[in-house]
């Protein structure tokens, strides 16, 4: 059995608050500078885009999975859609019939707003401003959807002719059909806005609870720690170019819900030590350092166990799970760092700022007792 405890170690973490804060802020700053230059890797769910549907019909021995694989390879590799391609495979159904129609396989490809064309990256959300053009006023997306459709059409034709010569596929034959649509993203943006508002309200509600159960300085410190965790998470997600989809919102909320726990555990110890009569002459720094030491083994173990599950999820997961797991891993590490190096030191600093330093709640009690004793004596 392993026994490790840091309870009796004498840390000097609170005294080096600015150093630890600086380290964190540098990580955040690097990420945000990177974001300003290159932008976040916004996934298809959030960006507007186009969808192209390919239906392959009545070809004997048609191998769906190899078509899917070859086509994906073509889209991402040769065609250089730069990772902004997703496909959903579908089976054709009529409005009344939900079972698979014999001989028809439908694939859907989704494109983001950025694609590479002749080696240049173009932003499809831009509108055509050439007044002489037929497409004046339309977004490039609407124009390119057609273009992409034609291109895919040619590629599919060539592929089918090559792989299934006996089917004698021609451009006019009934063997394949291609549809293109544009997709808007404003509903998704609305969802994000609601999520932001809800997160803000949730943070305020947590702040109220912490102020009520602890002190208002602890409440503010906890919320600042929380914001730090989320900012680090956003920064690292940007730096590692991880696509931001709706799972990212879930990841952010997960970290908010999770990392507040670590902070609360530290402040719980601060609250306890603060009320101990034997601590009445100790400084805020000592209280904070002792609290960090007493909770350190818990922080390490808990972070470790959660990391295990998330890392396994990333290892076994599909791409979309990985997109979720990496930000969580960043958030967990940030949460462990901040609950050790920032939460309690921020509390010490804020108390200095609001001239509460060194005032022990145990002292208040003993003062009251003394005062009560004095009045009864008199």
């Amino acid at each position: 059995m392993v026994n490790f405890s840091f309870r009796d170690k004498k840390f000097r973490i609170s005294e080096k608050f600015f150093l630890y804060l600086a380290i964190g802020l540098v990580v955040i700053a690097v990420g945000f500078v990177f974001m300003a230059i290159k932008g976040m890797n916004v996934g298809i769910e959030f960006s507007a885009g186009a969808t192209v549907e390919v239906s392959v019909k009545n070809i004997e021995n048609f191998d769906e999975s190899s078509f899917k694989k070859d086509f994906e390879g073509w889209l991402q590799g040769d065609r250089n859609f730069d990772g902004t391609v997703e496909y959903k495979d579908q089976y054709q159904t009529s409005t009344t019939q939900t079972s698979r129609t014999a001989g028809v396989a439908t694939f859907e490809f989704r494109f983001g707003t950025k694609m590479k064309s002749d080696g240049q990256e173009i932003d499809l959300s831009a509108t055509v401003d050439d007044e002489t053009s037929d497409d004046y006023g339309k977004t490039l997306l609407m124009v390119k959807a057609e273009e992409v459709k034609k291109e895919i059409s040619t590629a599919v034709l060539a592929y089918l002719q090559d792989k299934y010569p006996s089917a004698e596929v021609t451009e006019t034959s009934e063997h394949f059909e291609i549809n293109a649509h544009t997709l808007d993203n404003d509903v998704m943006l609305y969802t994000i806005r609601t999520a932001f508002i809800a997160i803000a309200v949730a943070i305020v509600a947590m702040l109220v609870y912490i102020c009520f159960r602890f002190t208002w300085v602890a409440g503010i410190s906890a919320v600042l720690t929380l914001c730090f965790n989320v900012l680090v998470m956003v920064s690292l997600t940007t730096l590692f170019r991880i696509p931001v989809n709706s799972t990212f919102i879930a990841a952010v909320i997960t970290i908010i819900g999770y990392s507040i726990n670590a902070t609360i555990v530290v402040f719980d110890r601060v609250r306890e030590l603060d009320a101990l009569p034997s601590m009445v002459n100790e400084s805020d720094e000592t209280i904070a350092n002792k609290s960090i030491a007493a909770t350190l083994s818990r922080t390490i173990l808990t972070t470790l166990t959660t990391l295990v599950v998330i890392v396994l999820l990333a290892v076994f997961g599909t791409n979309s799970i990985k997109e979720f797991a990496y930000p969580i891993i960043f958030g967990l590490i940030a949460g462990a760092y901040s609950s050790v190096f920032l939460a309690a030191p921020i509390w010490v600093y804020l108390r200095k700022l609001f001239r509460q330093s060194g005032k022990r709640s145990s002292a208040k009690k003993s003062l009251k007792k003394k005062a009560a004793a004095a009045t009864t004596n008199a």
Binding site: S5, D8, A251, I253, G257, I260, T305, V309, L312, L313
Partner: protein
């Protein structure tokens, strides 16, 4: 005697975990039957991202110029309300080709019917025999599904103050009319009900009776309360789609969670010995109990963010035990007896666990209220998970540790408690 009792209870607990654990996660063919046993986990309803579903394109039934001016955002809001009312919080709506809507809904038995409701304009009208409109959906404040005196499904309407007046006027005129005493209730172009009016009814409430099925009542109520759409929509293409996150997401997540749990068991036992064993048992119970809770609650629809909520609550269940055990170690190191240390540890650590979990529950409730769609799903799974984990990690571990007591010769050693811990400072 106590020893035998402990052994018996622990054996029963172990058997229960194995049996229920299998029932929760293993699906297998039933011998001598053509049917399969479906695990409890597979019966949790799953969202479009995990299990696929349908998509439909809704196109407004208007000319192109009119379509350009159409306020699609308010239409989206209305359709969103209808979907949420029907429990499809996971459905997504996207604008397609500027004027159409693309709606994706999870796997349902009656996809076509659901889609009909979405596109239906939902204009409610109370008419008399001459076709005069007396009351519209705007005069209705609330519409809910209910049952009439005969136990048949109906829709209960609650009028606005203005609506009440209009309804009184309508019933007065119709009941005194010489030709035909019927009130015709139309939803769009369909006549849903035609009750006879014999007297003036001055009431805040009314009900639409004569409906065939509960489903019908539910749908009409959902359409009326979400409000009417400015135009009606036709359903273009409908297709079945596979899981939007790709195949095998659920299985991969399950494998990861399974291995993760084993590693957590190992970590807990390495660091906390006998206490770790108790926590591992409690954690196994937690996973099973939570699966059953998720399958039982009808409004739970598991999506990927929901799985995140589950993982988070596993983490918090472990955290609660780590906090408690650390405290017990600390209390023992400070000189208390083993029994006293455990009692003091649970008592003191409970405050910590309570505060940290309540904070998370507060966040979950806020998200539940303010958000729709998959984030709401996340909030629900997180909320339920934290409640279940509070029980297993605080109540259950303590009970299991009590059961261990008669079986151990040296409790301190079994729980890995040390008087004086190594100090380097």
């Amino acid at each position: 005697m106590r020893k035998t009792k402990s052994i018996v209870i622990l054996t029963i607990l172990a058997v229960l975990i194995v049996v229920l654990g299998t029932a929760s996660f293993a699906s297998f063919p039933i011998p001598n039957s053509i049917r399969d046993y479906n695990s409890i986990f597979s019966q949790i309803s799953k969202g479009i991202d995990l299990e696929g579903g349908y998509y439909a394109v809704l196109t407004p039934e208007v000319s192109e110029e009119e379509a350009d001016k159409l306020d699609l955002d308010s239409v989206i809001q209305t359709i969103r309300t209808r979907l949420d009312d029907k429990g499809y919080t996971e459905a997504t709506i996207t604008k397609q080709d500027v004027t159409s809507l693309r709606v994706e809904i999870p796997n349902v038995d009656n996809a076509d019917e659901v889609l009909e409701i979405l596109g239906s304009q939902g204009k409610l009208e109370f008419r008399d025999s001459s076709g005069t409109v007396w009351l519209t959906g705007d005069d209705v404040e609330k519409a809910t599904k209910g049952y009439d005196q005969d136990g048949k499904p109906c829709v209960n309407l609650e009028f606005t103050a203005n609506g009440q007046k209009k309804f009184a006027n309508a019933t007065e005129t119709i009941s005194s009319s010489s030709s035909d005493n019927y009130l015709y209730i139309y939803l769009g172009d369909t006549l849903v009900s035609q009750p006879q009016c014999k007297e003036t009814i001055n009431s805040r409430t009314a009900s639409i009776t004569g409906l065939e099925t509960v489903e019908e009542a539910e749908n009409i109520a959902a359409v009326i309360s979400s409000g009417a759409l400015s135009v009606s929509f036709v359903i273009g293409e409908t297709r079945q789609i596979s899981a939007t996150l790709g195949e095998g997401v659920v299985n991969n997540a399950l494998i990861a969670a399974g291995i993760g749990l084993l590693v957590i068991f190992a970590i807990l036992i390495i660091f906390y010995g006998g206490m770790g064993v108790a926590a591992s048992v409690a954690l196994a119970v937690y996973v099973i109990l939570y699966t059953i809770v998720l399958a039982l609650f009808p409004w739970v629809q598991l999506t990927f963010p929901g799985i995140a909520g589950i993982i988070l609550s596993i983490g918090m269940a472990v955290d609660a035990n780590v906090v408690i055990f650390e405290r017990i170690k600390e209390e023992y190191a400070s000189g208390k007896t083993c029994t006293a240390a455990i009692r003091a540890g649970y008592k003191r650590a409970f405050i910590t666990v309570f505060d940290s979990n309540v904070t998370t529950v507060i966040a979950a409730i806020v998200l539940w209220i303010f958000c729709s769609g998959s984030i709401q799903g996340f909030a629900i799974t997180l909320f339920l998970g934290v409640l279940v984990s509070m029980f297993t990690s605080v109540v259950l571990t303590r009970w299991i540790m009590k059961l261990f007591r008669p079986l151990t010769k040296n409790e301190e050693k079994f729980y890995g408690l040390v008087r004086k811990e190594a100090t380097n400072g």
